[in-house]
Amino acid sequence: MIKPINDFAGRLNTEISLDENMVVKKQDRHFLLNTTLKRLITKDFYYAGTYLGKTKNGRFFPSFSLLTLMARTNANKTVVDKKTEWLFICGRDIFREGIVRMIGAKKRGDYTLILNEYDECLGFGRLTHNLDEDKAGVLVRNISDVGDFLRRER
Protein backbone atom coordinates (compact mmCIF):
# COMPACT_ATOMS: atom_id res chain seq x y z
CA MET A 1 0.00 0.00 0.00
CA ILE A 2 2.85 2.41 0.62
CA LYS A 3 4.79 1.54 -2.53
CA PRO A 4 3.66 4.66 -4.44
CA ILE A 5 4.72 6.77 -1.45
CA ASN A 6 8.12 5.10 -1.28
CA ASP A 7 8.55 5.47 -5.04
CA PHE A 8 7.76 9.16 -4.79
CA ALA A 9 10.24 9.55 -1.91
CA GLY A 10 12.84 7.91 -4.16
CA ARG A 11 12.29 10.59 -6.80
CA LEU A 12 13.17 13.15 -4.15
CA ASN A 13 16.29 11.15 -3.37
CA THR A 14 15.08 10.19 0.11
CA GLU A 15 13.30 7.50 2.10
CA ILE A 16 10.36 7.85 4.38
CA SER A 17 9.62 5.54 7.23
CA LEU A 18 5.89 4.88 7.60
CA ASP A 19 4.30 2.06 9.58
CA GLU A 20 2.41 0.23 6.86
CA ASN A 21 -0.10 -1.06 9.41
CA MET A 22 -1.15 2.48 10.10
CA VAL A 23 -1.71 3.45 6.47
CA VAL A 24 -5.20 3.01 5.08
CA LYS A 25 -6.49 3.52 1.58
CA LYS A 26 -9.89 4.99 0.88
CA GLN A 27 -10.69 4.75 -2.82
CA ASP A 28 -7.62 6.37 -4.40
CA ARG A 29 -6.50 8.30 -1.31
CA HIS A 30 -3.94 7.22 1.31
CA PHE A 31 -4.08 8.20 4.98
CA LEU A 32 -1.77 7.67 7.94
CA LEU A 33 -3.61 7.01 11.20
CA ASN A 34 -2.59 7.37 14.82
CA THR A 35 -3.26 4.44 17.18
CA THR A 36 -6.53 5.84 18.54
CA LEU A 37 -7.95 6.49 15.10
CA LYS A 38 -6.83 3.06 13.95
CA ARG A 39 -8.91 1.56 16.74
CA LEU A 40 -11.97 3.76 16.24
CA ILE A 41 -12.58 4.43 12.59
CA THR A 42 -14.99 2.59 10.39
CA LYS A 43 -14.64 2.01 6.66
CA ASP A 44 -17.06 4.72 5.65
CA PHE A 45 -14.84 7.62 6.73
CA TYR A 46 -14.34 10.51 4.36
CA TYR A 47 -10.95 11.69 5.63
CA ALA A 48 -8.77 10.41 8.47
CA GLY A 49 -5.49 11.18 10.22
CA THR A 50 -2.77 12.56 7.97
CA TYR A 51 -3.63 12.68 4.30
CA LEU A 52 -0.66 11.33 2.34
CA GLY A 53 -1.80 11.69 -1.25
CA LYS A 54 -3.73 9.97 -3.98
CA THR A 55 -3.04 7.58 -6.82
CA LYS A 56 -4.75 8.37 -10.08
CA ASN A 57 -4.22 6.53 -13.35
CA GLY A 58 -1.15 4.92 -11.85
CA ARG A 59 0.41 8.24 -10.84
CA PHE A 60 0.92 9.30 -7.26
CA PHE A 61 0.05 12.85 -6.21
CA PRO A 62 1.53 13.66 -2.81
CA SER A 63 -0.30 15.73 -0.22
CA PHE A 64 1.29 18.76 1.41
CA SER A 65 1.37 16.83 4.68
CA LEU A 66 3.53 14.18 3.03
CA LEU A 67 5.79 16.82 1.49
CA THR A 68 6.15 18.39 4.94
CA LEU A 69 7.13 15.00 6.37
CA MET A 70 9.68 14.58 3.60
CA ALA A 71 11.10 18.04 4.22
CA ARG A 72 12.31 16.69 7.58
CA THR A 73 14.46 14.11 5.77
CA ASN A 74 17.47 14.53 3.50
CA ALA A 75 15.24 14.95 0.43
CA ASN A 76 16.26 17.24 -2.43
CA LYS A 77 15.47 20.79 -1.38
CA THR A 78 15.47 24.22 -2.93
CA VAL A 79 15.22 27.22 -0.62
CA VAL A 80 13.78 30.34 -2.24
CA ASP A 81 13.66 34.02 -1.29
CA LYS A 82 10.55 35.86 -0.14
CA LYS A 83 9.55 37.23 -3.54
CA THR A 84 9.99 33.84 -5.20
CA GLU A 85 8.03 32.20 -2.38
CA TRP A 86 5.08 34.42 -3.23
CA LEU A 87 5.36 33.77 -6.96
CA PHE A 88 5.70 30.03 -6.38
CA ILE A 89 2.54 29.77 -4.24
CA CYS A 90 0.78 31.66 -7.02
CA GLY A 91 1.65 28.76 -9.30
CA ARG A 92 4.73 30.22 -11.00
CA ASP A 93 8.00 28.49 -11.86
CA ILE A 94 11.29 29.36 -10.19
CA PHE A 95 14.13 31.32 -11.74
CA ARG A 96 17.72 30.81 -10.70
CA GLU A 97 17.85 34.36 -9.24
CA GLY A 98 15.19 33.55 -6.65
CA ILE A 99 17.03 30.56 -5.25
CA VAL A 100 18.85 31.00 -1.94
CA ARG A 101 20.35 27.49 -1.86
CA MET A 102 19.84 24.01 -3.28
CA ILE A 103 20.43 20.62 -1.70
CA GLY A 104 20.52 17.41 -3.69
CA ALA A 105 18.87 18.11 -7.03
CA LYS A 106 21.41 18.55 -9.82
CA LYS A 107 20.15 17.06 -13.05
CA ARG A 108 17.36 17.91 -15.42
CA GLY A 109 14.20 16.09 -14.32
CA ASP A 110 15.22 15.77 -10.66
CA TYR A 111 12.41 16.44 -8.23
CA THR A 112 12.99 18.96 -5.43
CA LEU A 113 10.97 20.21 -2.50
CA ILE A 114 10.59 23.97 -2.42
CA LEU A 115 11.14 25.60 0.96
CA ASN A 116 10.87 29.21 2.10
CA GLU A 117 13.50 30.96 4.19
CA TYR A 118 11.98 29.43 7.32
CA ASP A 119 12.47 25.92 5.88
CA GLU A 120 8.71 25.45 5.54
CA CYS A 121 7.65 23.32 2.62
CA LEU A 122 5.74 25.21 -0.08
CA GLY A 123 5.43 22.38 -2.59
CA PHE A 124 7.67 20.67 -5.07
CA GLY A 125 8.98 21.00 -8.59
CA ARG A 126 11.30 19.54 -11.19
CA LEU A 127 14.57 20.87 -12.59
CA THR A 128 14.22 22.03 -16.18
CA HIS A 129 17.93 21.64 -16.93
CA ASN A 130 21.15 20.49 -15.34
CA LEU A 131 22.35 22.72 -12.57
CA ASP A 132 25.77 23.15 -14.10
CA GLU A 133 24.33 24.44 -17.37
CA ASP A 134 24.60 28.19 -17.57
CA LYS A 135 21.07 28.82 -18.84
CA ALA A 136 18.88 31.80 -18.08
CA GLY A 137 15.19 31.49 -17.31
CA VAL A 138 13.25 28.94 -15.35
CA LEU A 139 15.29 26.43 -13.36
CA VAL A 140 12.53 24.68 -11.39
CA ARG A 141 9.16 23.93 -12.92
CA ASN A 142 6.30 24.19 -10.41
CA ILE A 143 4.48 20.88 -10.06
CA SER A 144 2.48 21.53 -6.92
CA ASP A 145 2.32 24.37 -4.38
CA VAL A 146 0.30 25.23 -1.27
CA GLY A 147 -1.63 27.87 -3.20
CA ASP A 148 -3.61 24.85 -4.32
CA PHE A 149 -5.57 25.14 -1.07
CA LEU A 150 -7.11 28.30 -2.51
CA ARG A 151 -7.46 27.06 -6.07
CA ARG A 152 -9.13 23.77 -5.19
CA GLU A 153 -12.04 25.48 -3.42
CA ARG A 154 -12.89 27.80 -6.31
Partner: protein, 334 residues
Amino acid sequence: MSWFSLKRLGNGSQEGCLPDDRYPVQAPSFYELAPNLSLMWGKEFFLGRYSELGWKYETVESKQAIRVNSMNIDKDKLVKRLGSRGVRVRKIPFLDDGYWVSESRFSLGATSEYLLGLYSIQEAAAQIPAALFTALKGKTVLDACAAPGGKTVQLAQLMQNTGAIIALDIDKHRLVALSNQLERCHVENTAVYLADARHASQLNLKLDCILLDVPCSGNFTTDKEWFGRRTLKDVERNAALQKEILREAVKTLKADGEIVYSTCSLEPEEDEMNIDWATNELNVQVEQIDCYGQKGLTDVFGKKLDSAVVNCKRIWPGPTQGFFVCKLKKRGSA
Protein backbone atom coordinates in the same frame (compact mmCIF):
# COMPACT_ATOMS: atom_id res chain seq x y z
CA MET B 1 -52.13 38.15 22.08
CA SER B 2 -48.45 38.84 22.34
CA TRP B 3 -45.96 37.03 20.19
CA PHE B 4 -44.68 34.96 23.08
CA SER B 5 -48.08 33.77 24.22
CA LEU B 6 -48.76 32.83 20.62
CA LYS B 7 -45.54 30.89 20.66
CA ARG B 8 -46.70 28.92 23.66
CA LEU B 9 -49.77 27.70 21.77
CA GLY B 10 -47.95 24.80 20.28
CA ASN B 11 -46.18 23.35 23.21
CA GLY B 12 -46.54 19.84 21.85
CA SER B 13 -43.99 17.85 19.98
CA GLN B 14 -41.50 19.92 18.06
CA GLU B 15 -39.45 16.95 16.99
CA GLY B 16 -38.43 16.70 13.37
CA CYS B 17 -38.78 20.35 12.48
CA LEU B 18 -37.10 21.78 9.44
CA PRO B 19 -34.15 23.93 10.48
CA ASP B 20 -32.53 24.62 7.17
CA ASP B 21 -31.99 22.97 3.82
CA ARG B 22 -29.26 20.73 5.11
CA TYR B 23 -31.55 18.92 7.51
CA PRO B 24 -34.51 17.77 5.44
CA VAL B 25 -37.30 16.63 7.72
CA GLN B 26 -41.07 16.88 7.77
CA ALA B 27 -42.77 20.12 8.74
CA PRO B 28 -44.40 19.80 12.16
CA SER B 29 -47.98 20.31 13.09
CA PHE B 30 -46.88 22.93 15.61
CA TYR B 31 -46.62 25.52 12.88
CA GLU B 32 -49.98 24.63 11.47
CA LEU B 33 -51.38 25.45 14.88
CA ALA B 34 -49.61 28.78 15.02
CA PRO B 35 -49.13 29.99 11.46
CA ASN B 36 -48.76 33.59 12.61
CA LEU B 37 -45.25 32.80 13.72
CA SER B 38 -44.17 33.18 10.13
CA LEU B 39 -45.35 36.79 10.23
CA MET B 40 -43.15 37.57 13.17
CA TRP B 41 -40.07 38.96 11.57
CA GLY B 42 -38.31 42.16 10.67
CA LYS B 43 -35.86 44.44 12.36
CA GLU B 44 -38.39 46.11 14.62
CA PHE B 45 -39.77 42.80 15.81
CA PHE B 46 -36.42 41.26 16.66
CA LEU B 47 -34.97 44.45 18.16
CA GLY B 48 -38.06 44.61 20.36
CA ARG B 49 -37.22 41.16 21.63
CA TYR B 50 -33.59 42.06 22.30
CA SER B 51 -34.68 45.17 24.13
CA GLU B 52 -37.01 43.07 26.27
CA LEU B 53 -34.03 40.82 27.04
CA GLY B 54 -32.00 43.82 28.16
CA TRP B 55 -29.89 44.74 25.16
CA LYS B 56 -30.13 47.96 23.22
CA TYR B 57 -29.32 47.74 19.55
CA GLU B 58 -26.14 49.35 18.37
CA THR B 59 -24.45 49.33 15.00
CA VAL B 60 -21.68 46.81 15.04
CA GLU B 61 -18.74 46.65 12.72
CA SER B 62 -17.33 43.19 12.75
CA LYS B 63 -13.60 43.00 13.29
CA GLN B 64 -11.53 40.41 11.56
CA ALA B 65 -9.77 38.01 13.88
CA ILE B 66 -7.24 35.25 13.47
CA ARG B 67 -6.25 32.35 15.68
CA VAL B 68 -2.62 31.33 15.76
CA ASN B 69 -2.21 27.61 15.25
CA SER B 70 0.27 27.42 18.08
CA MET B 71 0.77 23.74 17.32
CA ASN B 72 2.61 24.91 14.19
CA ILE B 73 4.31 28.16 15.20
CA ASP B 74 5.18 30.26 18.21
CA LYS B 75 2.71 33.16 18.57
CA ASP B 76 5.31 35.91 18.81
CA LYS B 77 7.13 34.61 15.75
CA LEU B 78 3.97 34.68 13.69
CA VAL B 79 3.07 38.20 14.82
CA LYS B 80 6.54 39.33 13.78
CA ARG B 81 6.30 37.59 10.41
CA LEU B 82 2.91 39.08 9.68
CA GLY B 83 4.24 42.47 10.77
CA SER B 84 7.02 42.20 8.19
CA ARG B 85 4.31 41.79 5.55
CA GLY B 86 2.45 44.87 6.77
CA VAL B 87 -0.21 42.98 8.72
CA ARG B 88 -0.74 44.54 12.14
CA VAL B 89 -2.49 42.45 14.77
CA ARG B 90 -3.20 42.94 18.45
CA LYS B 91 -3.92 40.34 21.08
CA ILE B 92 -7.52 39.66 22.01
CA PRO B 93 -7.41 39.88 25.80
CA PHE B 94 -9.92 37.11 26.49
CA LEU B 95 -8.44 34.51 24.13
CA ASP B 96 -5.22 32.52 24.36
CA ASP B 97 -4.37 32.45 20.67
CA GLY B 98 -6.67 35.09 19.19
CA TYR B 99 -5.64 38.38 17.58
CA TRP B 100 -7.64 41.23 16.07
CA VAL B 101 -6.42 42.31 12.66
CA SER B 102 -5.84 46.07 12.83
CA GLU B 103 -4.35 46.55 9.41
CA SER B 104 -3.73 44.43 6.37
CA ARG B 105 -2.95 45.39 2.82
CA PHE B 106 -4.12 42.12 1.34
CA SER B 107 -6.32 39.14 1.95
CA LEU B 108 -5.32 37.23 5.05
CA GLY B 109 -6.59 34.06 3.41
CA ALA B 110 -3.87 34.14 0.77
CA THR B 111 -0.58 34.61 2.63
CA SER B 112 1.94 31.81 2.69
CA GLU B 113 1.60 31.77 6.50
CA TYR B 114 -2.10 31.03 6.10
CA LEU B 115 -1.54 28.42 3.41
CA LEU B 116 1.07 26.76 5.60
CA GLY B 117 -1.46 26.43 8.42
CA LEU B 118 0.25 28.83 10.80
CA TYR B 119 -3.01 30.65 11.53
CA SER B 120 -6.69 30.40 10.80
CA ILE B 121 -9.18 33.16 10.18
CA GLN B 122 -11.73 32.70 12.92
CA GLU B 123 -14.18 35.15 14.44
CA ALA B 124 -13.25 36.00 18.04
CA ALA B 125 -16.34 34.61 19.77
CA ALA B 126 -16.08 31.43 17.72
CA GLN B 127 -12.70 30.81 19.33
CA ILE B 128 -14.29 30.46 22.77
CA PRO B 129 -16.14 27.08 22.72
CA ALA B 130 -13.30 24.64 22.00
CA ALA B 131 -11.22 26.15 24.79
CA LEU B 132 -13.88 25.40 27.42
CA PHE B 133 -13.32 21.67 27.77
CA THR B 134 -11.59 20.73 30.99
CA ALA B 135 -8.76 18.72 29.45
CA LEU B 136 -8.51 17.34 25.97
CA LYS B 137 -5.16 15.65 25.55
CA GLY B 138 -5.57 11.98 24.64
CA LYS B 139 -9.38 12.15 24.73
CA THR B 140 -11.95 10.99 22.21
CA VAL B 141 -13.92 14.00 21.05
CA LEU B 142 -16.92 14.41 18.78
CA ASP B 143 -17.28 17.57 16.74
CA ALA B 144 -20.86 17.00 15.71
CA CYS B 145 -21.41 19.82 13.19
CA ALA B 146 -17.82 20.32 12.17
CA ALA B 147 -17.58 22.03 8.77
CA PRO B 148 -15.87 24.22 7.75
CA GLY B 149 -13.50 23.07 10.47
CA GLY B 150 -12.15 26.12 12.32
CA LYS B 151 -13.12 24.68 15.69
CA THR B 152 -12.01 21.17 14.69
CA VAL B 153 -8.52 22.49 14.03
CA GLN B 154 -8.60 24.34 17.34
CA LEU B 155 -9.61 21.13 19.14
CA ALA B 156 -6.74 19.26 17.49
CA GLN B 157 -4.40 22.00 18.59
CA LEU B 158 -5.65 21.82 22.19
CA MET B 159 -5.26 18.02 22.04
CA GLN B 160 -1.77 18.44 20.60
CA ASN B 161 -2.81 16.02 17.87
CA THR B 162 -3.30 13.20 20.40
CA GLY B 163 -6.39 11.04 20.94
CA ALA B 164 -9.07 11.30 18.29
CA ILE B 165 -11.62 13.72 16.97
CA ILE B 166 -14.62 12.36 15.13
CA ALA B 167 -15.87 15.18 12.94
CA LEU B 168 -19.30 14.99 11.35
CA ASP B 169 -21.10 17.11 8.85
CA ILE B 170 -24.22 16.52 6.85
CA ASP B 171 -23.10 18.38 3.72
CA LYS B 172 -20.64 16.65 1.41
CA HIS B 173 -19.43 19.89 -0.17
CA ARG B 174 -18.59 21.23 3.26
CA LEU B 175 -16.60 18.09 4.01
CA VAL B 176 -14.21 19.13 1.25
CA ALA B 177 -13.62 22.46 2.96
CA LEU B 178 -13.25 20.71 6.30
CA SER B 179 -10.71 18.23 4.94
CA ASN B 180 -8.73 21.02 3.29
CA GLN B 181 -8.56 22.85 6.62
CA LEU B 182 -7.30 19.73 8.36
CA GLU B 183 -4.62 19.17 5.76
CA ARG B 184 -3.59 22.82 5.64
CA CYS B 185 -3.22 23.01 9.44
CA HIS B 186 -1.43 19.65 9.77
CA VAL B 187 -4.13 18.03 11.88
CA GLU B 188 -3.34 14.35 12.39
CA ASN B 189 -5.94 13.05 14.83
CA THR B 190 -9.28 13.56 13.09
CA ALA B 191 -11.62 11.28 11.19
CA VAL B 192 -14.30 12.92 9.11
CA TYR B 193 -17.65 11.37 8.29
CA LEU B 194 -20.57 12.43 6.15
CA ALA B 195 -23.20 12.07 8.85
CA ASP B 196 -26.12 13.77 10.50
CA ALA B 197 -25.43 14.79 14.10
CA ARG B 198 -28.89 13.52 14.96
CA HIS B 199 -27.66 10.00 14.26
CA ALA B 200 -24.34 10.25 16.07
CA SER B 201 -25.11 7.23 18.26
CA GLN B 202 -24.87 5.07 15.15
CA LEU B 203 -21.11 5.51 15.42
CA ASN B 204 -21.28 3.16 18.41
CA LEU B 205 -18.75 5.20 20.30
CA LYS B 206 -18.75 6.61 23.81
CA LEU B 207 -17.18 10.03 23.74
CA ASP B 208 -15.31 11.94 26.43
CA CYS B 209 -16.23 15.35 25.03
CA ILE B 210 -18.65 16.65 22.44
CA LEU B 211 -18.59 20.00 20.72
CA LEU B 212 -22.03 21.04 19.55
CA ASP B 213 -21.63 24.16 17.49
CA VAL B 214 -25.12 23.59 16.21
CA PRO B 215 -26.78 24.92 13.06
CA CYS B 216 -28.63 28.07 14.09
CA SER B 217 -30.44 31.15 12.85
CA GLY B 218 -27.27 33.23 12.95
CA ASN B 219 -27.44 36.93 13.71
CA PHE B 220 -27.45 40.28 11.99
CA THR B 221 -23.78 41.05 12.58
CA THR B 222 -22.64 38.50 10.04
CA ASP B 223 -25.56 38.77 7.65
CA LYS B 224 -26.73 42.20 6.48
CA GLU B 225 -30.01 40.77 5.24
CA TRP B 226 -30.67 38.87 8.44
CA PHE B 227 -33.68 40.86 9.65
CA GLY B 228 -35.39 40.50 6.32
CA ARG B 229 -34.65 36.85 6.03
CA ARG B 230 -35.50 35.33 9.37
CA THR B 231 -38.86 34.79 11.06
CA LEU B 232 -39.68 33.44 14.46
CA LYS B 233 -40.76 30.29 12.69
CA ASP B 234 -37.18 29.73 11.53
CA VAL B 235 -35.99 30.24 15.07
CA GLU B 236 -38.43 27.66 16.40
CA ARG B 237 -37.43 25.19 13.71
CA ASN B 238 -33.77 25.58 14.51
CA ALA B 239 -34.45 25.27 18.23
CA ALA B 240 -36.22 21.98 17.60
CA LEU B 241 -33.33 20.64 15.53
CA GLN B 242 -30.87 21.70 18.20
CA LYS B 243 -32.83 19.76 20.80
CA GLU B 244 -32.65 16.67 18.64
CA ILE B 245 -28.90 17.07 18.32
CA LEU B 246 -28.52 17.67 22.05
CA ARG B 247 -30.54 14.57 22.90
CA GLU B 248 -28.44 12.43 20.57
CA ALA B 249 -25.20 13.89 21.87
CA VAL B 250 -26.05 13.06 25.47
CA LYS B 251 -26.72 9.46 24.37
CA THR B 252 -23.21 9.13 22.95
CA LEU B 253 -21.45 10.86 25.85
CA LYS B 254 -19.67 8.98 28.61
CA ALA B 255 -20.79 9.51 32.21
CA ASP B 256 -19.08 12.67 33.51
CA GLY B 257 -18.33 13.62 29.91
CA GLU B 258 -18.65 17.21 28.73
CA ILE B 259 -20.66 18.90 26.01
CA VAL B 260 -19.88 22.41 24.91
CA TYR B 261 -22.94 23.85 23.19
CA SER B 262 -22.73 27.02 21.14
CA THR B 263 -24.72 29.03 18.64
CA CYS B 264 -24.25 32.37 16.93
CA SER B 265 -27.94 33.07 17.43
CA LEU B 266 -29.23 35.78 19.74
CA GLU B 267 -32.61 34.12 20.05
CA PRO B 268 -33.20 32.62 23.51
CA GLU B 269 -35.20 29.74 22.01
CA GLU B 270 -31.93 28.44 20.53
CA ASP B 271 -29.87 29.36 23.56
CA GLU B 272 -30.99 29.55 27.19
CA MET B 273 -34.38 27.94 26.56
CA ASN B 274 -32.79 24.93 24.91
CA ILE B 275 -30.37 24.57 27.80
CA ASP B 276 -33.24 24.88 30.26
CA TRP B 277 -34.95 22.08 28.34
CA ALA B 278 -31.78 19.98 28.39
CA THR B 279 -31.34 20.30 32.15
CA ASN B 280 -34.92 19.14 32.65
CA GLU B 281 -35.14 16.46 29.99
CA LEU B 282 -31.62 15.09 29.66
CA ASN B 283 -29.20 13.83 32.25
CA VAL B 284 -26.97 16.90 32.23
CA GLN B 285 -26.07 19.83 34.42
CA VAL B 286 -24.83 23.26 33.39
CA GLU B 287 -21.26 23.86 34.49
CA GLN B 288 -19.72 27.17 35.43
CA ILE B 289 -17.41 28.54 32.77
CA ASP B 290 -14.90 31.32 32.89
CA CYS B 291 -14.93 33.14 29.58
CA TYR B 292 -15.90 36.36 27.87
CA GLY B 293 -19.62 37.16 27.89
CA GLN B 294 -22.55 37.99 30.12
CA LYS B 295 -24.48 35.62 32.34
CA GLY B 296 -27.13 33.50 30.70
CA LEU B 297 -30.70 34.78 30.94
CA THR B 298 -32.93 33.03 33.46
CA ASP B 299 -36.01 35.14 32.88
CA VAL B 300 -36.98 35.02 29.22
CA PHE B 301 -40.10 36.89 28.20
CA GLY B 302 -41.64 36.17 31.56
CA LYS B 303 -40.67 32.52 31.66
CA LYS B 304 -38.43 31.51 34.57
CA LEU B 305 -35.68 29.13 33.55
CA ASP B 306 -33.58 26.77 35.66
CA SER B 307 -31.30 28.85 37.86
CA ALA B 308 -28.22 26.96 36.57
CA VAL B 309 -28.79 28.50 33.13
CA VAL B 310 -27.12 31.58 34.56
CA ASN B 311 -23.83 29.66 34.09
CA CYS B 312 -24.21 30.00 30.32
CA LYS B 313 -22.57 32.91 28.54
CA ARG B 314 -24.49 35.22 26.25
CA ILE B 315 -22.47 37.54 24.06
CA TRP B 316 -24.40 40.46 22.63
CA PRO B 317 -22.86 41.98 19.49
CA GLY B 318 -20.00 44.35 20.27
CA PRO B 319 -16.34 43.70 19.80
CA THR B 320 -17.37 40.23 18.64
CA GLN B 321 -20.40 38.91 16.82
CA GLY B 322 -23.39 37.73 18.83
CA PHE B 323 -22.83 34.34 20.41
CA PHE B 324 -24.00 31.93 23.04
CA VAL B 325 -22.00 29.20 24.73
CA CYS B 326 -22.31 26.87 27.69
CA LYS B 327 -20.82 23.68 29.07
CA LEU B 328 -22.93 20.70 30.09
CA LYS B 329 -21.75 17.73 32.10
CA LYS B 330 -23.41 14.34 31.97
CA ARG B 331 -24.29 13.20 35.44
CA GLY B 332 -22.09 10.37 36.68
CA SER B 333 -24.82 7.80 37.19
CA ALA B 334 -25.70 7.77 33.49
